[in-house]
Every structure is written in C-alpha cells, then in structure tokens.
Symmetry: C2
C-alpha cells in the first residue's frame, strides 16, 4: 500500500468533487445546458483575472495560449522583448523565433531577481517594440517576477503590449489585469484552477485587441477574434474540452467561496513554510525572489538533486519535480499551488526528512517539520 501525494508545479491535485463532476455523463456543447455553464464561467473568469474584458479559453495546453499571444498580436519581422531567465523564458523566445519575430532578449541568470529597469532600458533602446513577453512565475526556477512594475513601465508605451505568462501565477497571487495594466494574461487549467491539463486561458485588454486589428500572422486554430465572437454567444469556435469546462465551473465556484484574499494568503504561507522548513534542515532555497507557487531548493553539497526528487517520488510517495535543463541534479522543487493545504506541506517536509536521512545529510529529525508547523500556525 502506497498513498500518493502530488506536489508538482502542474498537474496539481484535483478536488474529488471536481473529479466526480467531470465523471458525470457528458453534455453536448451546442445546447442551452452547456451555454449556461459557459455564461457562468465567463463571469467567474473575469473575476479571477481582474478584468472587465472576456477571458478566452482554448482546448490546448497553456503553450497554445502563449502561441496565440504572439500570432494574434504581431506580424512577421515585428520586434518583441523577451525576458529569459529559465525554461519558460526560452519558450517565449522560441515561439517568437518560430513566427519570425525579432527578439530583444533580456538574459538574467536562472534564479536571480528580475530588475524592471532592464525592461525600461530595453524599451528605450527599442521604441519600435510591439510586445514585452514575460512571466508571473518562472516555473523552472521558482522566481516570482515583478509583474506590476513591468506592466507599469510598458503602460507608458502606447504601441507596446505587456504579455504575462501567468500559467503558474493566476489563482496563486494577485495579478489584477485591468488595475495593473496587463494586456494579455495567459493561464492553464492544471495549475491553481485545480483541473487536469487541456484548457488554456487568455485575458485580453482593449490595448491588445487594438493591436490584434493590425496583426498579419497566419492563424486558424488559435484565432482569438473568432473565439471572442463565439464566446459572446456562450459558445466556442471549435468543439470545446467539455468535461474540463464542466469541472472549471466547479473549481471556480470553490475559489469564489474561499475568496481570492484567502487563496493568496494560503499559497504564500504554504510556500514560506516549505522554504523555512528546508532552511531548518540546512538547505538553501534557490530563487532570489521566491514565488508562492513553487519552491526550488538546492540539493545539499554532495547529494544529487535528482536522487532527492526520485526518492521523494518512488520511496516516499510525494511527487515534486526535479531541476530542468542545466539545473538538473542541482535543485528539486515542491509546489504548493491550487488544491494544497497545510498537511500537504507537513507531508512533503516529512518525506524530505526521510529522504535526506537516507541520502546521508546531517540534521536533527523533525527540525524541518517543526519549523514548517510554526509557519503554518499562521493559517
């Protein structure tokens, strides 16, 4: 018998009531029963994204909405600024490259804080920039980006939009689109939405819709104007991921019942408890400005990060994540976004202590869990 605990940065745990709702007989999408669900979801998504505009959704991974944020806005040879400080910064750059966009890259060492002044400088040097592509959390490093500051800078450039990959951010900490001036906010179902993967989201500002009018990039499946027209009739352009949308109504209802303030506070405390527990075990957090979504931790001297991740998963039933690309073996990650509570952190910390003892790391048993409990008391 081995119970399994999922604390990866996506997919995340799904509440049983959402799983069971999705297991009901499927609805047909071209009828009023489904349209009622879409109508409710539209309103709740506006609430979650902090926008008066529609939030589009697509049957795809989050990357599909990232691609759409390039192909629905820019034209070939347009210029864009991309902040690269991890695997998903690379993704923005790669999407731009695939579609013939000239990119100005702001390269920051993985794990370091992002200085908004670098964006300001890049914009001054490249006043013809059409879009700034960056993140809420860089999932591969656990760094939280200064979204508000970046959005405030971009706001001053009337012909530039601020595009945030909020896949590991929306529903974890505040990212109010309209208030902060975020022009496109992308999200994915398998994170704080507490759903399986397969549904991507994009909130779109008036400034972005205006830019869309001049965009000359080929597109079909991710055609945002067609999606908007359909959404306004509580429909989708193509067959939607029906069961995920049915689940989405449930999970958004749960989020509304808890309230954004409590959700954000919970995520913040869970992540802090994870970091503090790790520090009490003699480990060092990796990210300079850590995100409440996912905590990246250095493997201690002489111990392989992949061995920690694998032992957590295989021997102790806790699925976290390892390091990606050049961080493989150097860090491991534990995520606390979405349907996670204080006991998930206690479990993860206990599994980490078992694992570190096995691997020969020296510390007093219970000191990680103990420190975590102190922080978790705030919840």
């Amino acid at each position: 018998m081995q119970k399994r605990y999922l604390l990866a940065p996506g997919p995340t745990q799904i509440p049983p009531e959402v799983l069971l709702k999705m297991a009901e007989p499927i609805l047909h999408h071209r009828n009023p029963m489904f349209e009622e669900i879409v109508a409710e979801v539209r309103e709740d998504l506006k609430w979650l994204f902090g926008t008066k505009n529609e939030v589009l959704f697509f049957a795809s991974s989050g990357t599909g909405a990232m691609e759409g944020a390039v192909t629905n806005m820019l034209s070939p040879n347009d210029k864009a600024i991309v902040v690269r400080s991890g695997k998903f910064g690379d993704r923005w750059a790669n999407i731009c490259k695939a579609y013939g966009i000239q990119t100005v890259e702001i390269n920051v060492p993985w794990g370091d804080e992002i200085d908004p002044a670098l964006v300001e400088k890049a914009l001054k040097e490249n006043p013809d920039t059409k879009a700034v592509y960056t993140h809420a959390t860089e999932t591969s490093t656990g760094v939280r980006y200064p979204v508000r500051e970046i959005a405030t800078i971009v706001k001053n450039y009337p012909n530039t939009i601020c595009v945030i990959d909020g896949i590991t951010g929306v529903g974890v900490f505040e990212l109010p689109m309209d208030e902060w001036g975020i022009d496109i906010l992308v999200a994915g179902s398998q994170k704080a939405f507490m759903l399986p993967p397969g549904l991507a989201f994009a909130g779109v500002s008036d400034k972005a819709w205006a830019m869309n009018k001049t965009s000359k990039m080929p597109r079909f499946y991710f055609n945002w104007t067609k999606e908007l027209t359909n959404l306004q009739k509580n429909q989708t352009n193509f067959t939607p991921a029906i069961s995920l949308i049915v689940g989405l109504r449930e999970s958004l209802r749960m989020m509304k019942e808890e309230g954004l303030e409590k959700i954000y506070k919970r995520a913040e405390i869970l992540a802090r408890a994870t970091r503090e527990g790790a520090i009490a075990l003699g480990l060092k957090p990796f990210a300079k400005n850590p995100s409440p979504a996912v905590t990246a931790i250095y493997a201690p001297e002489g111990i392989d990060g992949q061995a920690i991740y694998k032992s957590l998963w295989k021997k102790y039933g806790v699925t976290g994540a390892g390091g990606q690309d050049h961080l493989k073996g150097k860090i491991f990650r534990i995520a606390t976004l979405g349907y996670a509570d204080k006991y998930d952190v206690v479990t993860a910390m206990a599994a980490l202590e078992f694992t570190l003892k096995d691997l020969g790391h020296k510390f007093k048993m219970g000191s990680g869990v103990g420190r975590a409990l102190e922080v978790l008391q705030e919840l």
Copy 2:
C-alpha cells in the same frame, strides 16, 4: 425525472468505466507511471489506425490536427486540392486559405456522392498539387467518402499526399492507413474513441514525413517532428491532456476486446436500422452514400427540421443534431458511432415517433421502431 440519451455526432457517450478511470487522482506526466500508459496507447493507436508508424496526439480539438496536417506539410503558396461538400470541407479550405495555400476546389452539392474521378481529373490538371484534403465522413451531411479509391489515385503521384479527416470515421469503419495508402489520418477523441473532446490524433505515413522535411510554414504548438521525438520516448512536447490519455488507454482496451470487425459491423447495422426505421416512417435519408457514423434525415414536407431536433432533445431526452448552415431546418441527424448499441437506436426511433406524432406527421405508430428491430436482429 428525465433521463438523457446522447446520440449526437460528437461528443458521444462515454462508458462509465472510462469516466471513472479518468476520475481517479491525476498522475504526473513526467514519470514512469505515465510513460507506461503512453507506451501502451502508442501500440493500440497503431493497431486502430492500421499503420506501422506512430500516431501523434495533441491536447486540442480535432481541428488542431487538421491545421497541423497543413502547417507541417506545405509551404506558403503551395497548391492543394480540397473536396468541398459540407461544413467540414469548408474547414479544410479555410485552413488552407489562412496559411496562404492555393486551393483547387472540387465542389460537390452537399449530400451527393463523391466521384473519385473528380480527384483524378483535378490532379491531372494540377500536377504540382502537394496534398489532397478530404474526409472519411462529412459529418454535416452524413456522406461517406470513397477514401480507398481517392487514396489509390493519389498514390500514383509521388509528390502528393492524401490527407483524410477521419474524425468521424476512425473506429467506425475501416480506414487502414498503410494498406490503402492514406498519408495522414486525423481523428478526435469525442467520436468513436468514446472519450470527452480535447485530444486530437494524426497518423503520418513515410511519404508525409518526407514532405514534412521540405515544409516551410511557421508552427510551434503543433510541431509534429518535435511531437514525434517526444512520443518515441513515451512523452509529449507540452503538458499532455493527462486524464484523456488515461481514459484513452481504457477505451482502446475496450475496442481491442471487441475487435475492429465487430465494431465496424455494429456501427453499420445501427446506422442502417436508423435509416430503415426512418424510411418506414415515410422519411427520406439525406446522404447518397450514407456513413455508418451519422444518419442525416430530411424533415418531412411542412415540418421544420429544427423543430424535430429540438423536440427530440427537449421533450424526449434524445440529443441528436440539427442541420448546419443552409441545411438548418431541412435535415436532422442521429449518430450511432462509438459507445452506442441496439437499444440506443430503439430509443432514438421511439423518440422520433413521439416527436413526429406531436408535429402532425402521419404514420402508423411503431412502424419505425418495428422496422429498426428487424434490422437490429442481425446484431
């Protein structure tokens, strides 16, 4: 109390055992437990598609794989032949248009048989054609296309690929890729796969992979070469629709247990029983060469097809489909693909009789069901 019966041409009914499997706690996709599932699914998809090559899958609607069959094969200004005889023929044409492909259109009145000689003629007149895009079933009209004959013709053109939208076809009737020379066979999860929508498939021949090498179309989310490389490691390029893939393993196991011959025979008899029952009620089938997947039926003189579809759905609990575009009001459709058995046809026919009586059509009660039963006895 109103029980609901789903007999639409997608989404289709989902077996309870598949729904419950998908309702289990979600797995993480970057680990051996998930990779084992992908390994099994890869083999079963090859069996279902009748190919030695890999069948790619994507987190998207079927249209995503249709788009990929253009963007991964052609280059801007390439020439393609498109058979247009319904809403989904329009879709191939619209995708080609969106990506700057010159299309040679074979326009056939909706509902008519497709003459393969028209494809032969178009190819002779346009020897520089890179691809022929057509369908297994045109879902909007219920017409079955002569796939084998078309594929045999295209086979003689070494620089032209034969691309079949098999969304309403794979798992309903035989479409053996390698034997018939189909170069790309597209499918979608919400049809004969007995799953929710959100997963698209594409089987790809060696001839198509060779053409892919010369394709110069921008693409990122639907990048087939990257997807292939990942699939060979039992992985996906981006976060996959995990729960659908878990469900897919179950539904493919069910299909293998029944066997393709029995599945195809069942679909053929269910559709025939639907047609014959409708004829016994004095109605006329719409499609000249009817598909076993979906049966389109003319509304009788003086009765609105939408009224039939709506009454079936609203008053009698049977979800079929209406007519699309200019066929709206003229026809209605009942689908019998996937998880449908003889009692589904009996139910649909009974609901149709109730509905037609309400709407004032003259016939002897029970004559439709009676005729259907005679046909269903063959099962």
